[in-house]
Symmetry: C2
Subunit: 315 residues, 2 copies
Amino acid sequence: MASTSETRCNPALRRGAGIAAAVLLALLAGQAGADTPPRKGRTMAEVLAASKPSDWRRLDPDNSVYLDFAAGRVIIELAPQYAPQHVANIRTLLRQHYFDGLAILRVHDNYVVQWGDPESGDKDKAKPFGEARRSLPGEFSQAIAKQPFVALPDGDVYAPQVGWSGGFPAARDEKAGRTWLAHCYGMVGAGRDNAADSGNGSELYVVLGHSPRHLDRNVTLVGRVVQGMELLSALPRGGGALGFYDKPEQRIPLKTVRLGSELPPDERSKLELLRTDTDTFTALVETRRNRTDDWYLQPAGKVEVCNVPLPVRLP
Amino acid sequence: MASTSETRCNPALRRGAGIAAAVLLALLAGQAGADTPPRKGRTMAEVLAASKPSDWRRLDPDNSVYLDFAAGRVIIELAPQYAPQHVANIRTLLRQHYFDGLAILRVHDNYVVQWGDPESGDKDKAKPFGEARRSLPGEFSQAIAKQPFVALPDGDVYAPQVGWSGGFPAARDEKAGRTWLAHCYGMVGAGRDNAADSGNGSELYVVLGHSPRHLDRNVTLVGRVVQGMELLSALPRGGGALGFYDKPEQRIPLKTVRLGSELPPDERSKLELLRTDTDTFTALVETRRNRTDDWYLQPAGKVEVCNVPLPVRLP
């Protein structure tokens, strides 16, 4: 069943009606009665219910990160096509169990949650990178030619074009011949200092709150949270500058952080992700541009790229 | 001191550099040394540090809601200019202490937190509205002529024009002669059922996550959280459909919810909010469009209306 984060069928409803309407939608998805007037378009639930197996793809074990901490498990899909060097380095760090015992250091409301080595600033105490590279060139954008792209018709404030590439929200500048990932909710990036090559994937952040699109092309995005985002977004916000936890005891320890391919096959998630290069996905985008749920009185007719859910499901 | 939610000077920094850079910015705000090369523009911190008292306004006790619950206090500024009937009805409910003992019923990740009467669907158990009206016409937009407006140069995906009105993010359609508030992070709205007039301000929701702009003009926005947003955004997400807490024991009780003018004057917050109709605010928007912090390698040159912070401070 598709996760609740994308079943935003009836927002801001009064509670009794909310439940009833959700049930109603489920019924309508199954059976259109003879008395039901034809509606202009489908709902997202209907599009998903009608999807074919080929509309979905499995998580690649080599491109999935399983982050376990007290609250539960977060699963991240990596985007090697947009950040090949960072993803390779993160895989190296993961195989060395580098992140085990590190911590969530920062939860900045309406911005990011960030984890890494609390001692990263201390030469003697910092956890060694081992085989991993200490620094990487910023991978802020890629050449257009290499990347598949499905455009959103509605444009964007920040970029000439937006849409999706391989399951990730992305932007493009055809004149410049460049494409980059977009900082939508749940996207994962690699922290860096002022120098463009000062990050290496050992400090990662996840976007929570309104999409900070001003970060696009300034920092390397490496992937997206596909499960467990609600565990990160519900963390207490840090009271220090920039949302850092100012007392060491506030930091939230990471238990184990593993690459999917390091887990025994029967322990890997069977999560499926909706492909973004199919007619079904195009239909889904259309349901977000034009809401047909009875609750809507004035469907927007457009949608922002970060306002289109990227559904996942467990078979 | 301006709250951390708007001091997003150095995002996604590696931890050690983050603290150092924040200190550096504070120093630069105070003193530009002879050796410092002139920078192209100011930072938001500098703009705020140079603001005049007249750039700020006090919270109006008649337009402020003080919501107290176990985690602390949330303060909401009401927007009567955009929702006169809803705000009047909410004041009536507040004076009757209607919300006391009700609960947070729903926390839907990347969408809304919502509170109201758990028994609202039950005629016998629902809390009486007393003097308040049972239903109100939807106040989804207002005539343009009545509302001051400061436009953002960068446009918007959803509306012909966006900007700010009286301290709130807003949108306009000059051809249609209408203006409405925008569903940015922290905005507060009145839940309703399918009928346009089925809400009355007794169930309220707050936007968390990416701005759900598709809700604009479909539901009445009544104000904005100006303090304590981090207490709402850190709540555990509901496991039921649409993020509702499916077990009654999960609901989070509201202690007292008061209109500011019902509190003794010395208990009212001294919070000040940055006005949105001044040169200082225009300068602040400019700092968000073009980031001059050294960390930025490619300032966006544009900004989304929901990506401009609306600073508050305690004198």
